[in-house]
Assembly symmetry: C2
Homo-oligomer: 463 residues x 2
C-alpha cells in the first residue's frame, strides 16, 4: 500500500534551498543554552526537511569540540594533546568527525591519518604493542646499517651500537635498577629507529616499563644520537602514570648526567590509557612528568556526557510567533525571529548574552540596557556594555541579496575557539561550581513571551 | 622533511588481502570477554593495517547492538521498539550505523529513512512539534475533502466532521475533563489525517496532553473512522509517561464505551523523551499503558557505557606464540592461535565457552572436559557437554582453498541475536547481580599461558 501520493515525490524533486536563509554563530565560538546556534528561514516544508540533517551535523560536532576544549583546559596550554579515538568512535565516519572537531577544540594532533589528509590536521602516533610483540629477538633485524643524519658517515651495525649502549647503561650509575631487558622489545625499538630515525617514539610498557622499556629506549636513543638523530620520546600506556612518568624522568636525568647528554632529561613523555578530564586533573594534583597526553575513548565518545540535546524549534511562521510549551520550563521555546548579542564589560569579559525581537534596536556601547531572565520574573539586571557583538551571521543567503560570510579554515576556527575561551571570566570556567553565564532577553521580548504563554496554555495547567 | 621512503608507498600500492584469512563469530551471536570476536591471519604488515579499520567497525557496532538488546530485554517482547537516534549520533554516518545495529539488536523500526532505504529496516515515526506549531487555526486547511477508505464516498468537509466529533466528545460523558482545546493543534492533526488517513499518529504534547492533545486526536480518529480509516495512535513526548499513558488509556476506553467504537480502547500509545533501560524499568514497576517506545539519545550514544574496549592483539607470529603482559591481569592477552567452543548443558543452556590450542582435539558431546579459568589457578570445573558449537567461522579465506561462510541478511542476524539471547540461562540475564558466564581455557592452553608468562615477565615485577 503506497503511503503517499506520487505528487509528493514530484514535489521533493522540485525543491532546493534557494529560498532558504541560514544564519549561524561562527564555528569555534563559545555558546550558551537558549541562544540559537542557527536560524533557518524559508518555506516551512523545506526547512522541515533540514531539521534532522542540521541537528545531526551540529549536535555531535558541538559536543566533541566542547569536550576537547574541556580536556585542553584541564591539561593546560603547555601540554601536547593527541586525539587517539578512531577505534572507539561511532564507526569510521564518526571517527573522522571526532578527529576534526577535537582539533577545533584545541587538540594538537590526531592519530587518524585519513583525518590528517582530509583536513590538514597534524598527525602523531606511536607504534603498537603488536609491533613490539611481533619481534622474537635481534636476529629478526636483517638490514643493520644506518646512515648518519648529515649523510657524512654510515654505521654498518647499528644493532651492535645499541647493544653497546645498553651494556654501558647497565654497568653505569643505573646499575641495579634493572637487569636483563626483553630483547624482543629491544629488537622492535631498534628496528623502528632504523626505519624512522628522526621520529623514534617508543611504546615502553609491553613487558615492564622501568626494567625493560625505558632502558631499551635509552640505549636506542643514545645510539641514534651517535648518528646525529634526536629520539622523539616514549609513550606509557598502562600502570600508574604519575609514578612511572616521574621514575622515567629520573632515569632520563641520570642518563643526561652519566653520559653528558645535554637535554636528555627533557625527553618527551607521552601518556595514554583511558585518560579523561578527571584522570588528568588527578595527575596534576599528584604531580607527574607527562609532556603529552594521548586521549581516545573518553574524548570521542564524550563519555562524561555522551549526547548534546540541541533541538530545532519553529519560532515564527508567516510573521506569527510560535511557542512550544512544556511542563518542563527548560523545554519552553523562545518565540519569534530574534537577534542575539553578546555584551562585554569594562575588563573585556563577556557579561551576558541578550536576545531581542528582530526589529528592536541593537544594544549600544555605553547605554544602559535591562536584561531579563526569559522565564524568571525576579531575575533582571541593568548592563552598560563596553562592547557589543552580534552573534549570528549569514552563511547562506539563498537568492537574497544579503552578503555571505566566508567559511573559515579549520585553523581559524581552532584559533577562534581558543581565543574565545581565553576571554571568558575565570569564575565561569572553573571546574568546581562555576558561576553560570547569564542568557537574557530584552524587556520587550520578555513581555511578549509571557503574553503568548498565557494565551496558548490551557488555563490552570502550567506549574 | 619526508618521514618515510618512496619505497613504502610503492609497497602500500602493491599489497592486498589475498594472503589474509579472516575468521569471526557470526554477527548476532552472544559473546563474552576474552573469546576472540575475530581471528585475522596473514602477513604481519598487512594485518597491522587492518587493526584500526576492524576495531572501528566492530567496537561501536557491537556496543550499540548490545545496548539495543538490553533495551529489548527490559521492554519485553510485546512492545514495539522504535529507534529515534539520528540527531544525537556521531554525525550522519554514526546515525546510519546506529539504526542498522539497533535493528539487529531487536528494535522493530527506525525513524531514519536513509537507513530504511539502505538496509530494508521498517520505518516509523510521527510528525514533529514544529509541524503542530506551524498551524495557526483550521482556516489553514485549504483542501477539506477526504475520499472514504473503500472509495465509495467522499466527505466534502472533513474539518467540519472533526469539529462535530470534538463537540460530541465534549458534550458527552467526558464533559468537564477538558475545556477548549488548542485549535491550531486540531488543525495540524486534521491536516495530517487528510494527508495520511491510513497512518494517523499524532504527537499530543505540544500544548497539553489531556486537555488538548488527546481530545483533539480522538475527534480526528472518530472522523477518520466515519470514512473507513483506522487511526494509528498517539505519541507522548514529555511529562509523566506512566500517568499520562494511563489517563490516555482511560480516555480511549471512555470513547469506546460512549460511542460504541469497538477496539478504540486498545489504540496504540507510543512514548518517547529521553528513555533508557532505567526509565523503562521504572515505568514497568510503576505500571503504564505504553505500547511502543521511541528511544534515541540513550540508545545510539550508549549513554550508560559510551564505549566498548575491544582490542587487537598479536597472539602468534611465525608459529611462535606471543603474549602481551600488563600489571592489570585483565589486559594480559591469551597467546596462540586458538579454537573457541561453546558447550551446552542438558537443559539447552550454554554452560561455558572454552578456548583450546589450534591443534587440540575438539570437545566431544558426552565426554568430560576440564575447563580452567585462564589466570586463576583455583577456578576450574569439569563439564560434560550435550552440544558443542565451534564459534569462529571463516568469512574471508583469501587465496586459500577454505570454504567461505555466506554473509547473512540483516534479518537473519537479527533473528540469530534474539534466538541466542532467548537461549541464555535466566540468571545470566537478570538485571541485578547476574551470574557471570564463564569463559575458560583447556588444561593444555592454561599450562602454556603460564609457562610463557613466567618466561617473558622480568622477575619480581608482576603483582
Amino acid at each position: 500500500m503506497p503511503t503517499c501520493e506520487d505528487g509528493f515525490f514530484e514535489y521533493l524533486s522540485s525543491i532546493d534551498c534557494s529560498d532558504v536563509e541560514v544564519y549561524a554563530i561562527p564555528e569555534g565560538s563559545v555558546v550558551f543554552p537558549k541562544v540559537p546556534l542557527m536560524i533557518i528561514e524559508g518555506p516551512v516544508a523545506v526547512i522541515q526537511l533540514l531539521e534532522t540533517p542540521f541537528l545531526s551535523l551540529v549536535n555531535y560536532a558541538s559536543l566533541v569540540t566542547t569536550n576537547a576544549a574541556r580536556h585542553r583546559l584541564v591539561a593546560g596550554k603547555s601540554k601536547n594533546l593527541l586525539e587517539f579515538g578512531l577505534r572507539r568512535a561511532q564507526g569510521p565516519d564518526g571517527g573522522i568527525s571526532a578527529s576534526r572537531y577535537c582539533y577545533m577544540g584545541g587538540f594538537d594532533a590526531t592519530s587518524n591519518v585519513a583525518a590528517g589528509r582530509l583536513f590538514g590536521i597534524p598527525i602523531r602516533g606511536t607504534h603498537s604493542h603488536a609491533f613490539v610483540s611481533s619481534f622474537m629477538g635481534l636476529d629478526d633485524i636483517i638490514d643493520r646499517t644506518l646512515a648518519s643524519s648529515d649523510g657524512s658517515n654510515k654505521c654498518e651495525d647499528f644493532v651492535s651500537l645499541v647493544e653497546n649502549w645498553l651494556a654501558r647503561i647497565k654497568d653505569g650509575s643505573l646499575h641495579g635498577t634493572f637487569g636483563e631487558t626483553n630483547l624482543s622489545e629491544l629488537a622492535a625499538f631498534t628496528s623502528y629507529a632504523l626505519a624512522f630515525p628522526n621520529s623514534f617514539l617508543a611504546l615502553v610498557d609491553t613487558y615492564d616499563v622501568m626494567r625493560s622499556g625505558v632502558p631499551n629506549f635509552c640505549a636506542v636513543a643514545l645510539a641514534l644520537n651517535d648518528m646525529g638523530y634526536k629520539a622523539a620520546g616514549i609513550r606509557l600506556d598502562s600502570g600508574d602514570l604519575a609514578y612511572l612518568s616521574i621514575e622515567t624522568r629520573k632515569f632520563f636525568h641520570a642518563i643526561e648526567e652519566e653520559f653528558g647528554f645535554v637535554g636528555f632529561g627533557k625527553m618527551n613523555i607521552t601518556a595514554s590509557n583511558d585518560l579523561n578530564e578527571e584522570t588528568i586533573d588527578a595527575l596534576n594534583k599528584q604531580g607527574h612528568e607527562v609532556d603529552a597526553f594521548g586521549i581516545g575513548t573518553y574524548l570521542v565518545t564524550c563519555y562524561a556526557q555522551a549526547a548534546l540535546g540541541c533541538v530545532f524549534k519553529l519560532v515564527e511562521i508567516n510573521k506569527q510567533p510560535r511557542i512550544k510549551l512544556s511542563e518542563d520550563v527548560t523545554k519552553v521555546s523562545i518565540p519569534c525571529k530574534k537577534r542575539c548579542y553578546r555584551l562585554y564589560g569594562k575588563e573585556g569579559y563577556p557579561l551576558v548574552d541578550i536576545m531581542t525581537g528582530e526589529d528592536e534596536p541593537a544594544p549600544k556601547v555605553g547605554e544602559r540596557l535591562l536584561c531579563r531572565h526569559p522565564f524568571n520574573e525576579s531575575k533582571r539586571a541593568y548592563v552598560v556594555p563596553q562592547h557589543v557583538e552580534e552573534l549570528l551571521k549569514c552563511y547562506w543567503p539563498g537568492n537574497s541579496a544579503k552578503s555571505r560570510e566566508e567559511l573559515p579554515s579549520i585553523n581559524e576556527i581552532r584559533s577562534r575557539c581558543m581565543a574565545y575561551l581565553d576571554r571568558m571570566r575565570p569564575d565561569h570556567m572553573r571546574r568546581l561550581n562555576p558561576t553560570p553565564y547569564k542568557v537574557s532577553v530584552s524587556a520587550k521580548l520578555y513581555d511578549f513571551i509571557h503574553f503568548l504563554w498565557l494565551n496558548e496554555a490551557p488555563v490552570g495547567e502550567l506549574q
